[in-house]
Amino acid sequence: MRIGIPRGLLYYLYKPLWEKFFAELGLEVVVSKKTTKNTLKKGIEVTVDDICLPVKIYHGHVISLKDNVDVVFIPRLVSIKNKEFICPKLMGLPDVIRANIKDLPPIIEPTVDLTSSWLGFYRAVFEVGSYFTNKNTVILKAFYKATKNFKNYTQALEKGARPDEILEGCCNLLSNKAKFKILLLGHPYNLYDPFINLNMIKKIENYGARVITPENFTETIFKTHLSKLNKPLFWTLGNKLLAAAYQLKERRDIDGVILLVSFGCGPDSLIGELIERWIRKNTDIPFVLLTIDEHSGDAGLNTRIEAFMDMIERRKAT
């Protein structure tokens, strides 16, 4: 049986977990090809115009998969942490896909909801597993191997490798050689899909900088910095961004911060504002907010990055 995984949204965070799990269950895993202009075009054709770019592209990936696989894996990720949510758009994702795309193969849509109970995760694992086998031991074994694989991945991230490097298998930790360190903030599906962000990481690193991302920070950093909040924030991905920004006060090695958001992103419209105000008030690190959507062009982005990097270079020289 062939199971399709669309290369979009939280695929970039959970690839090692999902792929290994399905492979261990004896399935043939088909991941959609890298995002291209065509993926975007297909996605835009079927979605409403005010939904965000990553979701549009996700639609494109599902369309490219649907005729080549027996089932598609579209999880409903409600909450991956207690009292926190991902985003309303991900909570309704399978329903939106079903409403927008015709002739879909069956969808495997486990609901991952940890808002009320930590058991929610295991429930989802068994829900998915039981589609393919009725032996619980097989599911458990596959799950064990998958989590082990995932742990290795997160450990590598905490050591400073970026998801895009690990997923591509070209891990070159040039952090020591780099002239600057740039903190690139954003959601994983924007940061690690070079098509969405117009190859931004490469562009920045061409100036001799090392880009680090929120995925490089450990859980303890998040915990210590988020306890400062007046009211706990209820978006998991937003928390990561806030904590990554808040730790800048203690870190002296970051030369600049870029916040990458997709146009119309709900959580980021508020978090971006909080981060910007906080950085301006508490640090003297240069900050820029870049918004991307399906109309973004290379030239506009190049100009901004060039200006930003020039400024950082000059600051460093003086």
Partner: protein, 367 residues
């Protein structure tokens, strides 16, 4: 303490009544207007949804009027509204205002903090007085909804012309606002019954269900008086969300934990199988219910970039097709203009008329 709060429709009347009868000085910000919106847009994040921007405008105007404490509702997600208060506090204090913000989060978040905040607001008032104030405020909320319904029917049935209806509505709204005793409220209710009698239209009007995000549905400044506009054309509009009903299910039942699954959730299930925050699920469910009730069309209103409603907007075309009911989604933001709205509404109502042949002559398009 000079207390203030942002606007949502005519919610200010019950809230003001509640706090004033507890002996707290209340500063009501000017009703949302163009200046409010301009102030809000100027100081808010660009992609924040419209309610946040209007709220910021309300708050600035209230602080300018001398308020020093702001009450704001909170939330526990996933809708952005739950984190409004934090962003608003940052924006306003960066603008140099000296004030205190009291945030009322639902008990699911932090019960102790909620109790503490409520205590700060009600002070040393006796339980009897609080009970009285709450009942008075509730009664006003109920009366305002009755007024809204009666006014609508008077317009639809053409029993009152637009100007008379406006005058009568404003008169009663003001009376309800100023009254401080139950007896007087009873008088007003009787008076209302007298003025608005025999409201059944002599023809069968086009029926439209209004679904969408609660603030956009309830606040007439933000939705540009969409309900009255349609009613003046002789179209019956049913709001899917009412304040008292919302308060009943969300505050009382949920607190007592006897909140069962609602009809809307069951109706939405084949199309949207999970809560998505805000009123996204209700929008889908209510559209199905309106179709079952043989309404002629559904209007879906949402602020630009509203996350839960974008999910609903993505799914509504499928519902519309299945149930053969026209659905029009209207996105509201600071650039929305009367003319644009009118054109779309006219075209939509035209379409509904054509579908319901024989009705055409009954409807006057321009008043």
């Amino acid at each position: 303490m000079r207390l203030s709060f942002p606007h949502m429709g005519n919610l200010y009347i019950p809230i003001k009544t509640f706090f004033e009868s507890l002996g707290i000085e209340v500063v009501v910000p000017p009703l949302s207007n163009k200046e409010t919106l301009e102030l809000g847009v100027k100081h808010s994040p660009e992609f924040a949804c419209l309610p946040l921007k209007v709220n910021i405008g309300n708050m600035i105007q209230a602080l300018e009027k001398g308020a020093n404490t702001i009450v704001m509702a909170g939330g526990v997600g996933p809708c952005r509204f739950g984190y409004y208060s934090e962003v608003q506090r940052e924006i306003l204090s960066d603008l140099g205002y000296d004030f205190e913000m009291i945030v009322l989060d639902p008990p699911k978040g932090n019960l102790l903090k909620l109790v503490k905040n409520i205590k700060r607001l009600i002070g040393d008032n006796s339980f009897k007085k609080i009970w009285f104030s709450a009942r008075l405020a509730w009664k006003k909320a109920v009366l305002l909804e009755e007024l809204d319904y009666a006014d609508g029917m008077a317009r639809v049935s053409k029993k009152l012309n637009k100007k008379k209806a406006n005058n009568l509505f404003n008169y009663f709204e003001k009376e309800i606002d100023l009254t401080v005793s139950f007896d007087k409220l009873q008088c007003i209710e009787n008076q209302m019954k007298e003025c608005y009698h025999d409201l059944t239209p002599s023809f069968e009007p086009i029926k439209i269900g209004l679904v969408g995000e609660i603030y956009t549905v309830l606040d007439n400044f933000v939705n540009m008086d969409i309900k009255k506009k349609l009613e003046d054309w002789g179209v019956y509009v049913d709001k899917s969300i009412s304040l008292t009903e919302w308060a009943n299910t969300n505050l009382l039942l949920r607190l007592l934990n006897i909140h069962g699954e609602k009809n809307t959730e069951i109706a939405a299930r084949p199309y949207l199988n999970h809560f998505v925050g805000g009123h996204g699920l209700q929008s889908v469910g209510n559209t199905v219910l309106y179709a079952n009730k043989k309404f002629d069309g559904v209007l879906h209103v949402l602020p630009f970039t509203c996350m839960p409603e974008i999910i609903a907007k993505s799914i509504l075309p499928a519902v519309s097709k299945k149930y053969n009911i026209p659905v029009l989604s209207l996105v509201m933001d600071e650039h929305a203009a009367d003319t644009g709205l009118n054109t779309r509404l006219e075209a939509f109502v035209d379409l509904l008329c054509k579908r319901k042949e024989g009705m055409k002559d009954e409807i006057l398009f321009r008043s």
